[in-house]
Symmetry: C2
Subunit: 214 residues, 2 copies
Amino acid sequence: MPLSKERVLGAAVALADAQGVEGLSMRKLAQELGVVPMALYKHVANKDELLDAMVDVVVGEIDPPAGGTDWKTAMRRRVLSARGALLRHPWTSRVMESRASPTPAVLAYMDSMIGMFRAGGFSIDLTHHAMHAMGSRLLGFSQELFDETADVGPGMDAETLRELAGAFPHITELVVAITHDQASVVGVGCDDQFEFEFALDLMLDGLERLRDRA
Amino acid sequence: MPLSKERVLGAAVALADAQGVEGLSMRKLAQELGVVPMALYKHVANKDELLDAMVDVVVGEIDPPAGGTDWKTAMRRRVLSARGALLRHPWTSRVMESRASPTPAVLAYMDSMIGMFRAGGFSIDLTHHAMHAMGSRLLGFSQELFDETADVGPGMDAETLRELAGAFPHITELVVAITHDQASVVGVGCDDQFEFEFALDLMLDGLERLRDRA
DNA sequence: TTGACAGGTATACGGCGTACACCTAGGCTA
DNA sequence: TAGCCTAGGTGTACGCCGTATACCTGTCAA
């Protein structure tokens, strides 16, 4: 089977899924395809263009807007669909952020999101603010700067734990509370999906209130 | 003047401020300091540690919590102070996101933020949700996935503009509205500071309402 | 005086993206 | 059918990167 842009993209996405985007190099990708590195350049202009195209693959997995419902549930559904795509390809958010300007596919997604607000009766100005306020959540991710439970685990002795508790009392209190909530569940950690939806609804409810006040 | 961790860090921050974090290499940094690359390794273990230390420099610029006010204005002030630091060193957010785990300084900042919620009468659970919901905004940035006015400017002919309007009608409408709002100002673009505070207040107000309901 | 050590240096390795020249097979035109 | 064009894979090489390793030199304590 000869090379093609589709084959290259597919292998690139798979490789990034498997190894993370830091592990994706033109050379490894070529090897994966049984080909010499420079062969890739007959199908993509350079690595940056490859990354852009990979983002578009993921954005293409987001469901189209649902019809026949109010703006809020339609938007909610679409955002959660985007989140699904981003969870399947966790490298995407990082790549998207590092890119200088958005790809047409991302622009089209944003455009249709704006349209959903407008159809929901939002003024242009409020729509504008809403887009900013939603920020990355529109694409189904909110960068989590730290996973509070990742660093606390079985691999830590009581001494270190006590030190941590002294240095960061509030974090400790919080982690303890979370962990107790679900003591029976294997693998401590909070319910990311719940947290995401919590913040999403907080945002959507607040925006709705602002719209109705005007 | 001999090398020192402080001199290395200072030069690294300055270089990243000037060239962006992509332009920061151990070799360029060494050259900036008039020294051979390997000399740096007597003061930092490796580039990752250097990046972590650079983040801590910026986090150190964030004002301590303001006393003598209610939780909301105290938190608002602190977040805006963080935003100031991040705006002075725009590379910081990207570096922070790319790091595997947060530095102690970042943890300490988060810890004190949690403390501010708790002092404001938030339950542990609501505090937890609040921290997730605030996400990166806690550190004064919300990743802007696209700057809607960056791509539309004097360097674009009427033909391209019409094409864009056809492909992305809602974005176009929005950009036009924004640009008209401030026709007299040089350099189109929305007021980022306003947008940030809008979203921040939306969040804080929503959280307060939840707290009072409980 | 000696010896340890802190701190700057020289060299080298493997990995990266990619420019450039080359080859080769398939298909189109004359 | 002869000639050539071109799409697509190859080989080599360049300059950049982070950093391991060995080395040198000046300072200071014993």
